[in-house]
Amino acid sequence: MSSQALTLSGTDGLRRLSIASPDQPFQLDSGRRLDQVEIAYETWGKLSPTRDNVVIVCHALTLDQFAASPNPVTGRPAWWPTVVGPGRPVDTDRFYVICSNILGGCMGTTGPASKRPDGSFWGTDFPVITVADMVRAQIALLDGLEIKDVFLAVGGSIGGMQVLEWTIQAPDRVFAAIPIAVAARQSAQNIGFYEVGRQAIMADPNWKNGAYIAAGTRPDRGLAVARMAAHITYLSESALKRKFDRRLQDRTSKTFGFDADFQIESYLRHQGQIFVDRFDANSYLYITRAMDYFDIAADHAGQLANAFRGIKTRFCVFSFSSDWHYTPEEARDLVRALNAAGCETSYVSIDTDKGHDAFFVEEPEFEAAMTGFIDAAAEARGLAKRGSL
């Protein structure tokens, strides 16, 4: 089966690969199956003749496959230019980097905004998916691209969950893994925050029980509120104080109304507004649900270490001191389990006030440690040295 024959290129300019058919349906954790699954993906760099230089970048909740180049659909710039690119820690001069839009996403991969085989939109009839399903789809994508070995899997937040899932599902295929700002299970606090977001979407009259595309409406208000609530958890109290504190927005005194008096209100409203233009509300429901269901230990007889026993992958776990979405303590629990399982593990806690989103921002220590880990892994794997190509 030639991968080229399966490659679809839509009028939107996105690269896609079909990984399922009625003859070979895609099996989900929920027990349901999908007869039609397309995975949209993007690549950078050159695949080596021995196909040993593949890096998988796993994206976070609201992002897409455009980690290192601008998104042609939204026009937004690359979301991880500090990490992926020529001379960056994930050096596209040396590595063949693949990033795919996650299953359930809305940037070309099959999700609730896609059409069913009968031509109607899935909406909330789309099956509930898990992080394991997302990774299973990525493995199918690689199989379709006739790539077996992954030198490195890297990602933050739900991207970090996918990285962990990769090492569990395909331990013999992943040489090195960098889970960033993530936990081995979704906390009650996070489930709670995402439930607020889902309820906001579903309370929007334009949501229409999930069938808003057919109805020609958009639950923008609900989705914007969901984004605003979640966005607070990606920042830290000290960063909020530093950036906004109680400063007023373009005014000298309070208005005694409900306009955005404070800068923080204006900022969050802006974040909500720019989000709805590029994201599908139902996708938000499905992906946050997949995060809620994430609990590695529960899938391994309650013992987190059991999940990683015998895995030869080398790990480098990163956490950020002010991240309260996925805390350093949760990262430490993961590291303890990796150590208990005998995995080769590094763990770096970065001191920063930038909160959960610190991995998108320029953090020299973060980048230096990541570069060191990747270069050492590349040397152990026998890959070309930095700058030697």
Partner: protein, 211 residues
């Protein structure tokens, strides 16, 4: 924690003394690995596979940036999750006297590794004894400072004290080396407790024959 910037060119004498007890291919856990100098020495010159644990994040970041496998964590709390017999050797280089719970940590390392190697400042040295006797002040073992509060071990102990602790946690001494000097066995303990400022103990589980 143990070495400042700019010192990484110089090989620490206790590191050299420790490295002679590590064999090629051995898996070594360096507890309190600082910025990874000993790990590098063990990997490059002894062909060992080194892993590190370090409490200070600045040291951890430097280690990982150098490609070393190091975990940010606290020896006093994080060792229980390591599996039994996971390592060929566990090393505490000038760390044991800084720990909050040295007995607990040594006991954990005895469980985790086949051999446990510690380097420490010997407060049984004759100059320490003489100074305490004649001046009534605890002398510093450092050349850079004579203030008891600014330098020296948090838990000063002698070679004999360390030997007692080893026995307490079920370890016996298989080799002793004076840092910068020669090596010996348990029988040289009394002499070295007088003459060595800094010592390396190599210990294994179980009681030594004749003890």
């Amino acid at each position: 924690m143990k070495s400042g910037p700019g010192t990484h060119q110089i090989r620490r004498a206790d590191h050299v003394a420790i490295s002679q007890f590590i064999n090629p291919g051995e898996l070594v856990l360096d507890v309190g690995c600082g910025d990874g100098q000993l790990m590098e020495l063990l990997q490059v010159e002894r062909q060992a596979r080194a892993r590190g644990l370090e409490v200070e994040s600045a040291g951890v970041n430097r280690c990982v940036a150098k490609g070393l496998a190091v975990v940010q964590g606290d020896a006093d709390h994080d060792l229980p999750v390591y599996p039994d017999n996971a390592y060929d050797a566990a090393v505490l280089s000038k760390t044991v006297q800084e720990l909050a719970r040295p007995k607990f940590v040594l006991g954990e390392l005895a469980r985790i590794a086949r051999k446990v190697i510690v380097s420490f400042r010997n407060y049984g040295h004759w100059r320490v004894r003489a100074a305490l006797l004649t001046t009534g002040r605890v002398p510093s073992l450092s050349s850079s400072s004579s203030d008891w509060w600014s330098d020296g071990a948090r838990r000063p102990c002698s070679a004999r004290d360390m030997a007692d602790l080893a026995r307490e946690v079920g370890l016996h001494i298989t080799a002793i080396a004076a840092v910068g000097g020669g090596t010996g066995d348990h029988s040289s303990l009394t002499r070295l407790n007088w003459t060595a400022e800094e010592l390396v103990f190599v210990m294994e589980r179980g009681a030594a024959a004749g003890e």
